[in-house]
Amino acid sequence: MRSAGRSLPRPDLRAKLSGEAVFGADLAEPGMLHVRLLRSVVAHARIVSLDLDAARQVPGVVCVVTAADLADLDPMWGHYVRDRPILADGVVRFAGEIVAAVAAETPAAAAAAVAEIDVEYDELPPLLDVTAAVAPSAPRVHSGPPRPGFACPPSAVFGDGNDFYRWRVAHTRVEPSGAEDKLVTVAHEYAFPAVYQYAMEPHAVIAEHDGDRIRVSSTCQHPFLVREELALLFGLPVDRVRVSVPFIGGGFGSKSYTKMEPVAVAVARQAGRPVKLVNRVEDAMVTTRRHGMRARMRTVADRDGRLVSRDAEIWLDTGAYADNGPTVTMVAGMAAVGPYRWDRVGVDAACVYTNLPPAGSYRGFGAAHLQWIGESQVDELAEILGMDRLQLRRQNLLARGETMIPGTRPIDADLAGDLAAVADRLGWGPPLPGRQGRGISVGVSPAGASHHSQARVELRGDGRVAVRVGTQEIGQGARTVHAQIAAEVLDLPLDRVEVVPTDTGDTPYDRSTGASRSTTVAGLAVQRASEDLRAALLRTAVERWGVDPAVATLAGGRIVAGDRSWAIEEVGACQGHGDAGELAAGGATMPLFWEVCVAGAQVTVDPDTGQIEVRRAVTAADVGRALNPSLVERQDEGCALQVVGNALFEEMRFSEEGVLLNDTLLDYRIPTVADVPHEMACVIIENGDGPGPFGAKGCGESVFGGLVAALVCAVADAGVTVRELPMSPDRVWHAIRSES
């Protein structure tokens, strides 16, 4: 292969390094107004009064918008649950909820007007913890049953309580034998904190609403779903809503689904002019975050080292609005099972409303929450049984073709091989002395989300090829990989292929940029579209020049048949269409593929400070086929650093009143270059077994499940048991003190 499979440099890097690349906040429209938001300062309250007079008097202010201005709409949004008002209507459910929006000629005027708005709140007791929220006497965060959103799976069932969604599995493969006295059991409670994605670029939207058309430029990962949601909210046909996307400064889930677009469009509608809304970090932090979680788990093994059963109860704090919480809950529940040959499994995962800011997608969700819990219990059982931890895993691991959860796709990877590769690279062996430890973990997470991806590949008159595909370039390198796929099929040099930014008016449909689906699903659509174009070119050569179809081929931008050849542009404008629908052919079970979460770590714990040093982090990228190995490594390394933050120190902290305390990067620290593990190794495993182009499957999120777990296991191996993340120095220090 000439393009696919090579570590080619990203074509977009020069523009990003020179400042030419245009991001959301860099955009401007003629006559554009600037929007500033008034956000609630309390977590739960009735809005008694809202005085806007002074704000409206501020010079330069064009309009002040509140819920009262949306009376002609059904202003509730949410792709899974339609539970969220565009602007708070009589009640605020979290500190940070948008109460009013101001549009003004300058940002300064808009900010001044926001400061002039007078709100009187009648405070209500907030629910700030899942335990409090699921208590039988707890008040309801939302009255009335949840309304399914436009992207809610038809099979979803909602309850009336704050635990409005549950994902459960109860499966018995082998009935209990009665020899319970021979079993060993591990059971504990665990907690995972709320954390912030910190895509460095906060959300930015430019919106225009001219009565019967909406035009939006937004930093969104899923422009086609945003288009659908805006059409629904503002009562327009989908083809009257157009969403375009500039370069995106990181997403990690924080820009998935709809975020700031509804309020921006509502203000544009009121103002009758284009508006620009740009979040700051403190806005982004209350826009979406990772779910905090509490869980109980119990794992049972027999004396021979056979894993017998696992039970888990999980409560995920989705905050005041569901966002993608039910999906996170489902994936968390699946991760709790673990890829072992259990006799019995029982998992009950609940998605719980609280009065904290909404939680949604963040890279590796579910697996990040649960894999460390299950894997640390496997380690504890190994310790009790006096077995090697790796060996205990090996003898219980599911093989390719075995089913982890009834009704889901059988395991489609060589987990034992992946585990062996990581153990080998990590240097598995006898226990390390002192406060050093090693950990290894294995898991799988459902990936691909949906087969709905289409692409169009166009040959232009100048012999260059344009790829139109609705995947967003959020830094992962999707445009590079999609260009490589087209270049490979058409046998063109990479610099003759351009992947065009998305405009929903013109780009074929793609459901979303997430769930590690861009290479596998959207990439397959690009491959099929390129093949379609290739066939059209060769067909034209046969018809026009009488070429023998048996020998005609493409090579280096030319149609070649024996000793005759023509530049492809001689065919004229021509295009090919592709669709990834074949992935769902034959009623295939979900997920489209399992993303393999295998990683290893070696750490040193300083008993005096509680500081954990990551000496070695080994990740497995079981990608089927690495279409660009360098980009695969960059994905794993980047994810590894996010894991270092999530596992060791990142945590959103809320006051007793439910107000976010660490809402700046001064107080919410993310990993710097000084936090890079001493050694990072990404083992790329290519078994050609993915459903994507050339046998590829997705990557980029698996390290979250794998490496959080490996770190927890390594720290436990170093003698410190932590059951609440992050493993911050204070928590580790206290854990060490409480042992002695």
Binding site: S7, P9, R10, D12, L13, R14, A15, K16, L17, S18, G19, E20, A21, V22, F23, A25, D26, A108, Y198, A199, M200, E201, P202, F247, I248, G249, G250, F252, R280, V281, I474, G475, Q476, G477, S630, L631, R634, D636, E637, G638, A640, L641, Q642, T664, L665, L666, I670, T672, V673, A674, V676, M680
Partner: protein, 154 residues
């Protein structure tokens, strides 16, 4: 209040509010979008520009304090041979992903490389700890910089 700044070698007469931030002036008044806004508190480094050759966080730098001084943004530096060298190394290593932080890294690095102040990998790590990147694991960035600085990458 009037202020006279030299930006990327060009003299600019501007009428600025007393509290105007250099980042806003560059982006909104002069259309130089290379410097980005993220943390607003001098932590992330993505708004880094040079004032008289020294990197500053333009999100917290008063535009009037740049009066009479030379400001260089990434758009200016991108015309120099050292930028070409740096960009080529970053490309070889696929060192950035979303690229939102990249202009800040580039501007932090310019004086360090021009003055040959990076003598070891440890120097690179120490000097870059004021620039955040959430996408990469930093390693490829450091590797590329070591290459340009001519220091042992290990």
């Amino acid at each position: 209040m009037a202020a006279r700044l030299t930006v990327n070698g060009e003299a600019r007469e501007l009428d600025l509010a007393d509290n105007a931030l250099l980042l806003d002036v560059l982006r909104d008044e002069l259309g130089l979008i290379g410097a980005k806004r993220s943390c607003d508190v001098q932590v992330c480094g993505t708004c880094t520009v040079l004032v008289d050759g020294t990197p500053v966080s333009s999100c917290c730098f008063l535009a009037h304090d740049a009066a009479g001084r030379e400001v260089q943004t990434v758009e200016g530096f991108a015309l120099e041979p050292l930028w070409e060298e740096l960009a080529a190394a970053f490309s070889r290593h696929n060192a950035f992903q979303c690229g939102f932080c990249a202009p800040g890294f580039v501007m932090t690095l310019k004086p360090l490389l021009a003055e040959r102040r990076l003598r070891s990998r440890a120097d690179v790590v120490a000097e870059l700890s004021g620039n955040l990147c959430r996408c990469t694991g930093y390693r490829a960035i450091v590797d590329a910089v070591c290459e340009v600085a001519g220091v042992d990458p290990s």
